[in-house]
Symmetry: C2
Subunit: 319 residues, 2 copies
């Protein structure tokens, strides 16, 4: 008889997360992803039209590790109109040696949010200019908040410019993030962000490019993590073509979805110019090589990130 | 705040299943699958080498239905050596309109076993000769037991010949199934089953063909459900080529895995000769057209089966 999996509600996880170094876990995740030991099949996806929503199923394992993970995370962007969070989901941890279900982490999508934000901080640590005057944030939702909070660990700058499609959301963001010690003002347009910020994080579900080619200042780093489906896009394809360095969390995934997929499809970019984040972490690629380079990191979210954060939480909660 | 999903252990499900007509649910599932209303992406798969195991992640939805499903089921065939069941898994039911997780059915793979057996009975109901003298079963595991139990609903015959790779397992099967009213004897080889039975159900994890071309008697129906990965195989590819009717649960899945994939790869069969089970259920294809036809159903297991059985159990257990 198999043992019943442990059911872990979010309330139990929150405390465990305090003692987890999420950035270190994500660095380990990207390294494991890019070093050939990971088995990460293509992302499973369900897309709904009415109401619009998308569900991602990410799964896989690292050879020699104890677990395999299956993660379900959904975004239904009209949910807040009904008082529901837009995201939901869970992470499932199984034993690689027997298939036994070990744990169901009822994170309601929050571990995905956190590992995505931690990955953004990893990208900034490796690629951003050392002392930007101003951080630009596109979007004012959950991810926009978490990104800024995680950036604190790697960037000293506390000046922030935010743009969101709905000005009232940007205003709420300015107020809320002030409580975390940031001086946040609202920008009139994404172009204003491009003109004033040297570290820009894009976290919108936009389906049209928000940042245009030629708009960035030399030395800028952009991390784009909003576009996790084939139809979403935050950066003009030409912008990737003109960047000095384009970094992917996963080359196979970025071929199919996200900013890089658009740039490849439009022949603005060739695959040999794309470097995986794990290769920079492992020192196989130098990353940013001068103060003037424009660098772009495209994060689509990889199952090994889910594996590492789920395993870390599960292990903290073991008796 | 999203409501927490309902956690349903197997002990709660068992009672609910008594009042569910699983065959009717599976007929509805195959009909919904083949009528174009279903969105069922390719099966997600993880394969492990040491110890050997495979995990299938099946997911999807029917347009206009209330739910979407994600099902995880694993087979680790050395588990019994350590006193563990070879299968584990769970079914997850979510709301199509918001992505909210509604229920986690901790079935440990049993709902997958049941829906697979019910699908076998549906195939026999539609395709088997009306009064076979003897039912042949290849395999003596859980699925071999469940198949026979579900066949009772559609076939009067109680004479059974079983073959299993390990004779002691076949002997145990004979004893156990006698308790359910079957007269079961053990065959020396799959060829003996082919020579004596007009309804044959293959439920082994074999990776080499067990039934050869030319070995079947006219009028025989074979349902093969053991081969759910690309490397598994129970029927010689030539056998499918020479059959009068080849039926798939899902043509797209059977292209990639199972008996039909081998027959297509070897050019023993062309796609235009394959009929989906749902088309026969809906009366769009006549199914078996004479007493002498040899018919083969290849069942790889489709997410819409998981959706229908999970939804039926969930709805029975609603307050």
């Amino acid at each position: 008889m198999a043992r019943a999996p442990r059911i872990i509600p979010w309330s139990e996880m929150a405390g465990a997360l305090d003692s987890i170094d999420c950035l270190a876990e994500m660095e380990r995740a990207f390294s494991q992803y890019s070093n050939g030991l990971s088995v990460i099949p293509p992302v499973g996806e369900l897309v709904f039209q009415d109401p619009p929503g998308d569900v991602h199923i990410k799964y896989g394992y690292v050879r020699g590790d104890e677990y395999y993970v299956v993660k379900i995370a959904s975004g239904f962007y009209q949910n807040p109109d009904q008082g529901l969070p837009s995201g939901d989901g869970m992470m499932l941890l199984f034993k690689q040696s027997s298939g036994e279900a070990l744990a169901i982490l009822l994170d309601e999508g929050r571990l995905t949010d956190i590992r995505t934000a931690a990955a953004g901080a990893v990208a900034a640590k490796l690629l951003a200019p050392p002392n930007p005057d101003c951080i630009g944030i596109l979007g004012a939702g959950t991810q926009a908040r978490l990104q800024l909070e995680h950036l604190q660990e790697v960037i000293a700058c506390r000046e922030v410019l935010v743009w969101a499609r709905r000005p009232e959301k940007a205003a709420a963001y300015c107020q809320d993030m002030a409580k975390s010690g940031f001086a946040v003002t609202s920008a009139d347009s994404p172009a204003e962000i491009a003109a004033k910020c040297q570290l820009i994080v894009c976290c919108t579900p936009s389906t049209r490019a928000l940042l245009q080619a030629g708009s960035l200042r030399p030395g800028t780093h952009v991390t784009a993590m909003g576009s996790d489906t084939a139809s979403k896009q935050e950066l003009a394809a030409e912008l990737l073509g003109s960047a000095d360095l384009v970094v992917a969390d996963s080359l196979p995934q970025c071929r199919e979805r996200g900013e890089i997929s658009h740039a490849l499809a439009g022949a603005f970019l060739s695959e040999d110019r794309i470097v995986e984040l794990g290769k920079i972490i492992d020192g196989e690629h130098p990353g940013r090589e001068s103060e003037d380079q424009i660098t772009i990191a495209d994060l689509t979210g990889v199952a090994v990130q889910d594996l590492r954060i789920a395993a870390a939480v599960y292990e903290r909660l073991l008796p």
